[in-house]
Symmetry: C2
């Protein structure tokens, strides 16, 4: 465990949004910077499906975080000015309670006895950490991808406790294309005989299914145009390609293979299933029966919605819908449509495009 990771354990039952509860769940989180005396400089980051709370390096953990270029001293989300918090999503496997955690009631891992997870649960559990840290109102909530939906859930459910919201490559809800992709990723894992209906040996997880799911992820996280420019029909140079007549002849196949190899084993398979499913379930329209009713529950001073034209998972139309909806209740809402070619992943890899937008946002905050 990294020495920057802090743990908060909720004393008592945590009621899940759909049904069931968790007894005394733990949330892992990291922070950067200091909470000011007015307690009004806190920025909460909601991650995508797979990252831990280690969004950036710190003195306690100098290893690079998943959003290293975005958070820290002198960075766009400047820890010299802001108290930045990132919570590992409930249901994940990097310190927060999830399906791989021990159920205190049984002494066994939860596995599939973990209750249905929703992004509302991710938001509410983060809210517990925020309250624990003594913060009544957040300066800004920032959410990327799935985290944008978790952030939206937070803003709707705690209207008045968030002043600003930044959504990156996210949406008001998942549409059928994204649902189909995620459902298939889940089926890939569940089809792996090693998954054993969730009861896999922690030392022998369903890596084959996870690798397939990761590869499909990469196909939807990037863009056809990027790959055309980057790989074209270039052949792989890896000699491993010769051992199999059906694969890794092309560079793009080696690239997917390398990504799958990096990912495997690092993420609990059941956690993945729960969080992926939670992404499909979220729908802002559940707040009042329609999207417009859902938006009306927001109370924000300012919002920034950033989307990428080549994103096929959270397409640009959904960014426009989100920005338009927020603008009905928050006049200071800005939509930025980026023409980055790296698709959904751009917020992680096209930092030259994203950094200035986030910089400008925080620099122009006049309080």
């Amino acid at each position: 465990m990294s020495s920057a990771r802090k743990l908060y354990t909720h004393d008592g039952l945590f009621r899940m949004h759909r049904a069931g509860h968790l007894k005394s769940p733990t949330l892992a989180y990291e922070t950067w910077g200091e909470l000011n005396a007015a307690r009004d400089n806190a920025v909460l980051i909601f991650s995508g499906l797979s990252p831990s709370a280690h969004a950036a390096s710190s003195e306690d953990d100098p290893s690079a975080g998943w959003w290293e270029d975005m958070i820290g001293s002198g960075r766009p989300i400047d820890s010299d000015k802001y108290f930045v918090i990132c919570v590992n999503s409930l249901g994940s496997c990097f310190g927060s309670t999830g399906p791989a955690s021990i159920n205190p009631a049984t002494g066994e891992r939860y596995r599939l006895s973990f209750p249905v997870l929703t992004l509302e649960d991710v938001a509410e559990s983060a809210w517990l950490v925020v309250r624990y840290l003594g913060i009544d109102c957040l300066h800004t909530v920032v959410g990327c991808s799935m985290g944008g939906m978790s952030g939206l859930a937070y803003c709707v459910r705690h209207a008045g406790e968030v002043r600003r919201f930044i959504s990156m490559s996210s949406a008001t809800r998942s549409l059928p294309f994204g649902i189909a992709v995620r459902s298939l990723q889940r089926e890939m894992i569940r089809s792996d005989p090693l998954w054993k209906k969730g009861n896999y040996d922690p030392g022998a997880p369903p890596v084959s299914g996870q690798r397939l799911a990761r590869k499909l992820g990469m196909i939807t996280y990037r863009s056809a145009e990027e790959w055309k420019q980057r790989f074209g029909r270039e052949r792989a140079t890896d000699p491993a390609r010769t051992e199999d007549r059906f694969v890794a002849e092309f560079s793009v196949e080696s690239y997917l293979e390398n990504h799958a190899n990096k990912f495997s084993g690092a993420f609990d398979a059941n956690s993945y299933l729960y969080l992926s499913h939670a992404s499909d379930l979220f729908d802002l329209a559940e707040y009042g029966g329609s999207l417009s009713a859902g938006f009306k529950k927001l109370k924000l001073d300012r919002a920034l919605v950033i989307g990428v034209e080549t994103d096929i998972l959270f397409p640009i139309e959904q960014q426009r819908e989100l920005a338009k909806g927020i603008s009905t209740v928050c006049t200071d809402t800005q939509l930025v449509e980026l023409d980055c070619i790296r698709g959904h992943d751009s917020f992680l890899v096209e930092m030259d495009a994203f950094r200035p937008l986030v910089c400008d946002f925080f620099e122009s905050c006049c309080d």
Copy 2:
């Protein structure tokens, strides 16, 4: 076997484009209409990856074919005027020799001893059938999807023996996005323990992997916009959904499930691997070292390239590239960009858009 299916067995060795050979391969084909006295009214259809030669019904086999609306008496490809031929691709499993066929040299199924298959082999084997039928020059070659590349291979390799070419939702070569998708589909099948490195029991094929591959296929054959309009976030009504907490909550998931159920078992898994790989391998630029050199080898009187704006597998840019390239050697080349929302599959399901184009093409043929 359908009674409309005819078989042609090549007497002797068939040399494969890459390496190796097949001894006396058989090609299954069907025909509609009659060859005229001048032998100049023959139209050859190249199918996508999965169909058989049964493109349309006939007296001998009244069951609907995979392109029923396109071929037949009074249909756009009119069997009252043309002699229409559809050959089951070499390497497939509907009567033509493929990995599931018995290797006469061993008395065993070829399985992975089948030589590397290319679309050149698909084209050349179809050419054998055309020659066998006594046709020196085809009136038109029509190819859809993978079949468009097979057709292009035919036209390049037998320049002067094809007068006209219709390409639908195809390309000059596969790009990395399509390669990645197909490579992953192949890996899904190969990851199924029942695949057994190609030595599966014909009675217990790798259905789980084939189902996953089919679902990924459907995700890339249709479009996000179609599914948004068709399914939105509608929940599935199938009671089967309740048995599994991670799947089939949404209608789009049931839809994929239904498609996977229909497909499974109908297609030999090794055939799929070979044909899918062949799609990745084809590259018009191999004819002369560049696409422009490849196009220069064509000798056509007329060409029609039809593409669909929502196609993510063979995107519209590739239709433009193809039409532009053909037009450098064939002034009578037309490009039609359709705004159908059903993506790559449109040529099978948006018949109201495709039929008139094919009608016009053939009706305006003045010979």
